[in-house]
């Protein structure tokens, strides 16, 4: 399969340490790649490098056969959408204005909004389930609503690649599943999706491939069952994992600390 976006020997050095080193990974069209790993393992940095937002120290990022440095920021923005983890929304833009910003790279500075732009915005509002919030100021929304607004903005770009940094972290169970299902359907339409996440079960269920990071290095990449083995998880997260099967036969992971701990209820009785 032809890869859409790939990193080649990527290295990122910031603040006196290597955040990512010798990192080579491909994003394949029509698939979801889940990027998992402990806090500080370099998941967010990897997404930023892939989106061309942070300059690399070493190596290169290739988008459809061309080095990201060879194409303009606007061209990158049309092809790759990025959803940050913490939205900075301090000024009272309306939801529709925020989502419409996804179209900025698609037209010149002083060009008017085309019907194509408007359609993309409406479609994005509907798909991310924020159409009913369209005229509300973003400063008045809850964390979960803001997260979905940012996802809507990334959809409005109609880019071929979507990079999402912990899109489900501030969502309730229902909306979290909605977002993952949305990513699944986008991938099924042929788009390329990469999600940094702490939700290992969600990654298993929705992602085609998983990349496991530890201290800026790639421990493994491949189908979830190959990568999220108990040895790998023990190595990266220092936890014991156990597969639990639900009635329909799907498996879920349950995690235990390496050192046996006394449950609080027992401790209270003593």
């Amino acid at each position: 399969m032809r890869c859409v976006l790939s990193t080649e020997d990527l290295g990122l050095h910031r603040g006196n340490r290597w955040i990512l080193q010798n990192f080579t990974i491909d994003l394949l069209p029509g698939t979801i790649l889940a990027i998992v790993g402990p806090n500080g393992s370099g998941k967010s940095s990897l997404l930023r490098c892939m989106g061309g937002i942070w300059p690399l120290t070493e190596g290169r990022v290739v988008l459809e056969g061309r080095d990201l440095l060879e194409i303009t920021r606007q061209q990158v923005a049309c092809a790759v959408a990025y959803v940050p983890q913490e939205p900075k929304l301090e000024f009272e833009f309306t939801v529709r204005e925020i989502v419409a910003m996804g179209r900025y790279a698609h037209r010149g500075r002083f060009e008017r909004e085309t019907s194509d732009d408007r359609n993309a915005v409406e479609e994005a509002l509907a798909r991310a389930d924020v159409a009913y919030l369209a005229e509300r100021p973003v400063t008045h929304l809850s964390g979960g609503e803001r997260q979905r607004v940012l996802i809507a903005r990334s959809l409005a770009t109609r880019s071929r690649v979507l990079l999402l940094d912990e899109p489900t972290s501030s969502l309730d169970v229902e909306h979290g599943l909605d977002v993952l299902a949305l990513c699944r359907s986008l991938a099924d339409e042929g788009r390329t999706v990469a999600i940094a996440t702490h939700d290992l079960n969600g990654a298993c269920r929705f992602a085609d491939r998983v990349a496991l990071l530890d201290s800026g290095k790639l421990l493994g990449v491949g189908p979830p069952s190959d990568v999220l083995t108990s040895e790998n998880l023990e190595h990266a997260f220092h936890v014991r994992s156990e597969a639990v099967f639900s009635r329909d036969g799907s498996s879920f992971m349950v995690f235990h600390p390496m050192r046996p701990q006394v449950p609080n209820s027992v401790r209270a009785r003593e």
Partner: protein, 315 residues
């Protein structure tokens, strides 16, 4: 003075071939055309310019409290003007004054940015504290220069004027000193309007949506310093216009810079023209300094926003 007379004089000056000047008295002509008109124009340029510069800095620092006074840019521009006065450059070249004020503003803006911003984030407290400290330092240097030149009373008087800000004795020369810079910088700010919208959402987001963040930031720093410098070069340190006006305008037109910048320009011009009218007429025959009037409006407003923002963060 009758408003019809004022219109007559203006008409005769602007359209000398159509409107007869013969019936206008010399005194009326001087008062309206040589004293009042340039004063109103300078007020409009200074007010519009400072309001636009305030809006730009608020977008740039992603912080609604940024303004030429609070970030020390005003003091930098005043110091630039002071140096030009005390060295006698001002007497030799008209253009030296706005250029020195621009350089002063630019240097102080870059300093505050370098000190208060880390990783693209400028905390309110850091911005204000850095601004206060830098302002204090720059004002101290200005005062020192003033003390050193006080023997030359004419120059010293001019310097005192700059430190408190005002529009008395403004002439057509002052209009021509600041108009090209303010208008050019205003046009340039419109060019960057939509990039500013995206920058307000954070640098990573702006970059991911297609903004060339570093070059845009540099351009916005230069544009806001250019406007602040040229406005302060002709009116001295007039504070708080850039804080009050964009805030009120945002309530009506929203935060998008494509409407915020032009609306702030118009509202800022109107605000300073009205403040100057008050400065001239509250206590005749004396004049109150324009900077005093804008501060009387602006400082309580600033405190109000500060308290509200503080409560928001701590709830």
């Amino acid at each position: 003075m009758d408003w019809r007379l004022a219109l007559h004089v203006l008409g005769a000056r602007l359209f000398p071939f159509w409107i007869d000047r013969a019936s206008i008295e010399r005194a009326d002509d001087v008062i309206i055309w040589l004293i009042r008109t340039p004063r109103v124009l300078v007020a409009a340029l200074v007010g519009g310019g400072l309001a636009v510069a305030g809006a730009l800095m608020q977008g740039f620092f992603r912080n609604p409290l940024a303004e030429s006074n609070t970030v020390g840019v005003g003091s930098g521009a005043v110091l630039g003007a002071m140096i030009v006065f005390s060295t006698g450059l001002a007497a030799r070249s008209v253009i030296a004054l706005p250029i020195a004020a621009f350089l002063g503003a630019l240097l102080s803006l870059i300093t505050v940015y370098a000190l208060a911003t880390h990783g693209g984030v400028t905390p309110v407290s850091m911005l204000l504290l850095t601004g206060i400290a830098l302002s204090a330092l720059l004002i101290a240097i200005s005062s020192l220069l003033l003390t050193l030149t006080v023997a030359n009373w004419e120059v010293a008087e001019e310097m005192i004027f700059w430190m408190s800000g005002g529009l008395d004795r403004r002439t057509w020369t002052h209009v021509w000193i600041c108009a090209p810079f303010v208008l050019f910088a205003f046009a340039a700010s419109l060019y960057y309007a939509r990039d500013l919208d995206l920058l307000m959402l954070g640098e990573d987001t702006a970059a991911s949506l297609g903004v060339d963040v570093e070059s845009t930031k540099r351009a916005i720093i230069v544009i806001s310093a250019l406007i602040t410098g040229s406005a302060i070069a002709v009116a001295g340190a007039v504070g708080f216009v850039g804080l009050v006006v964009p805030h009120i305008v945002r309530l009506f037109v929203g935060p998008s810079h494509r409407s915020l910048l032009p609306s702030s320009a118009v509202a800022g011009a109107a605000f300073v023209i009205i403040c100057d009218l008050l400065a001239r007429t509250i206590h005749p025959p004396g004049e109150i300094r324009l900077g005093v009037i804008t501060a009387a409006f602006g400082a309580p407003f600033f405190l109000f926003i500060l308290v509200r923002k503080y409560r928001e963060l701590n709830v």
